[in-house]
Symmetry: C2
Subunit: 282 residues, 2 copies
C-alpha cells in the first residue's frame, strides 16, 4: 500500500507508470532523495531533511524545487495516508534531474510507504552487522567533490549490493569503513557509539551523509547531560564501546548486538535510555 | 526523437511514463544497462554487449531476461527507426531490478536515440580531457566485490558529475585515475593509447568496464599486425604516448588532443588508420 503525490501537490496512482524511460533517474540514477518518518501525521525532522535535500541538489547542480513544493506534496501524501490502520509511514521525496535532453526541469514525487515488519523486528531485536570496505580514503571528499561523497543521490546500487553481501554473511546490516580502517556509515544509516556518557559519530568530512536521526539523537542527548562528539574513530572501537547503534529516519535508533560474527556490548537499559531521549523530541 | 520498445517486443510511446515511482531503477539506480551503436540497421558488437549485460546482472544478482528478449526488443526499435533520415542510432538496453517489494521480476526496455551533434563534433574534432581522481586503489575490485566496480549499473550520478566537472574546467571528457596515479577509464568510455605499433588499455582487474569498442578495435588492430596489451599504465604515459583515444559504442574511437590544459600528440594520420581498422569490422 503506497500513496503517491506529484510535485504539483496532486495525488497519483502509485501502481501506474510515472517516470519516462528517458528520465535521468531511470537511466543514470541522476537525482537526489530523502526518506522521512511520519508518525501519526507528524513528519519528523522535516526541516533538516529539506535542508539536506537542498545541499544534495547543490552538490549535483540540480535546481531542486523550492521547499514549499516538497511540503505541499508531503502534505498531500500525509493527508491521504490511512492513519487509522497504519500509525507510521516512510515518506520518500525524490528529485530527478529530469528528462535526458529536456529543458532541465527536475522531475520528482513524494511517496508514502508502510514501515515494513523487517524494520520493526530490527528496531526490537537489534542488528547483526558486518564491516565492509567502502574503498575510499577518509580525506577524499575534500579533494574530489565530483565523487558526490556527501550527497544523497539516487545512485544507490552499491549501497544495495553491500546489504546483499551482509545477507550472504548472515547479517542484517553493513558498517562501511574507510581505507584507514575508520568507521564511516551504513548504506542507509549513520553509526553512533557510546563510551560512558559520551555519544560519538564520524564527521561528515569523511564523505558520509550528516544523519538527521543521529542529529536529533545528539540534540536530545545533549539536553539530558550527555556529551556528544563528531570525530573519527577506528573500527576497533566498535568492539570496546558501551554500545553501537545504527540510526536512520525509519529504523530510528537500532542497536547492533553482533559485529562480524562476534557479540558486542548491547545493554538493553542504555538502549532504552537513548531511544527514550530520541522519542522525547516528538 | 526516440523509439521505445518494451521487453515483450512491442513498441511504446517514448514520451509517455513507463516506470513506476517505486521502481528500483528510479529510487536506487538499481539496475544495469548497455548502449549499442546501430548503423544502417546493423547493431555493432551486439554479442559482446549482451555478454556484458549478463555479467553486470550476475554481479548485481539481477535475473536478467534472456538474450532473446533483448534481441527482440532491440529489433523492434531497429525496425521502427527512421533510417532514411537518421543513419545512426544509439540503442540503450535498460534492466532494472524491478518494483520495490515486488515479486523480483526485472523491468526494462530498449530505447533508440539519435547520435547527437555534440558526439559527431567530438568524433571529428577530438577531445579536450582532464584527469580526475576516482578515489579507488587499483586492486580494490578483487577484495570488495560489493562495490560493483566492473558492473555497468544505472547508478551513474558520479560519472555524470565528473563530466560536469570537466565542463567547468573547459574540457569535454574525463580520464579517471586510481589512487596510485594509474589510468582507469572515462565515465562512459575506455582509454586506449598507442606507443609505436602497440595499443594499450588498462586491465579490467582495476575495476573498469571491459570496453566493447576497445575490444573491437584491438581485434581489428591485431589482424592488421598491431600488438595489443591490456596492462596498467601511469597517467604520465598519456603525455608521452603517440596517441590517446577514448572509445565507446557511440563516440567510436575519439582522439584526445589536449590533456589537463596541455596539448598532447594527436597524429591525424594515425587516427585515420585506427578508425579505418575499427570501421573495417562492419
Amino acid at each position: 500500500m503506497r500513496v503517491l503525490a506529484l510535485l504539483d501537490g496532486t495525488l497519483a496512482d502509485p501502481e501506474a507508470p510515472l517516470m519516462r524511460a528517458d528520465d535521468l533517474s531511470v537511466t543514470r540514477g541522476d537525482g537526489i532523495f530523502e526518506t522521512i518518518l511520519v508518525v501519526a501525521r507528524d513528519a519528523r525532522e522535516m526541516g533538516p531533511h529539506l535542508d539536506r535535500l537542498e545541499r544534495s541538489g547543490a552538490l549535483l547542480d540540480i535546481p531542486t524545487p523550492p521547499r514549499a513544493v516538497w511540503e505541499r506534496a508531503a502534505q498531500a501524501v500525509i493527508d491521504a495516508w490511512p492513519w487509522e490502520t497504519d500509525r507510521e509511514m516512510a515518506l520518500k521525496l525524490v528529485c530527478s534531474r529530469g528528462v535526458d535532453g529536456g529543458d532541465g526541469t527536475p522531475t520528482g514525487f513524494a511517496m508514502g510507504s508502510p514501515v515494513g515488519p523487517d524494520t520493526l523486528r530490527k528496531r526490537r531485536d537489534g542488528l547483526v552487522a558486518v564491516t565492509l570496505d567502502r574503498g575510499f580514503a577518509p580525506d577524499l571528499k575534500e579533494r574530489a567533490p565530483w565523487l558526490l561523497l556527501s550527497a544523497k543521490t539516487l545512485s544507490y546500487a552499491v549501497n544495495m549490493a553491500a546489504l546483499r553481501e551482509a545477507e550472504r554473511r548472515g547479517a542484517d546490516e553493513v558498517i562501511f569503513t574507510a581505507t584507514d580502517g575508520s568507521v564511516l556509515e551504513g548504506p542507509t544509516s549513520a553509526v553512533v557509539l557510546a563510551r560512558g556518557k559520551t555519544l560519538i559519530t564520524p564527521p561528515p568530512s569523511t564523505g558520509i551523509l550528516p544523519g538527521t536521526t543521529q542529529g536529533a539523537l545528539f540534540r536530545a542527548a545533549e539536553k539530558a547531560g550527555w556529551e556528544t562528539k563528531v570525530e573519527p574513530f577506528d573500527q576497533a572501537e566498535l568492539r570496546t564501546a558501551d554500545g553501537v547503534w545504527m540510526t536512520s529516519s525509519v529504523r530510528l535508533v537500532t542497536p547492533v548486538h553482533t559485529l562480524d560474527g562476534t557479540p558486542i556490548k548491547a545493554d538493553p537499559e542504555l538502549h532504552r535510555e537513548l531511544t527514550g531521549l530520541y522519542e522525547s523530541l516528538y
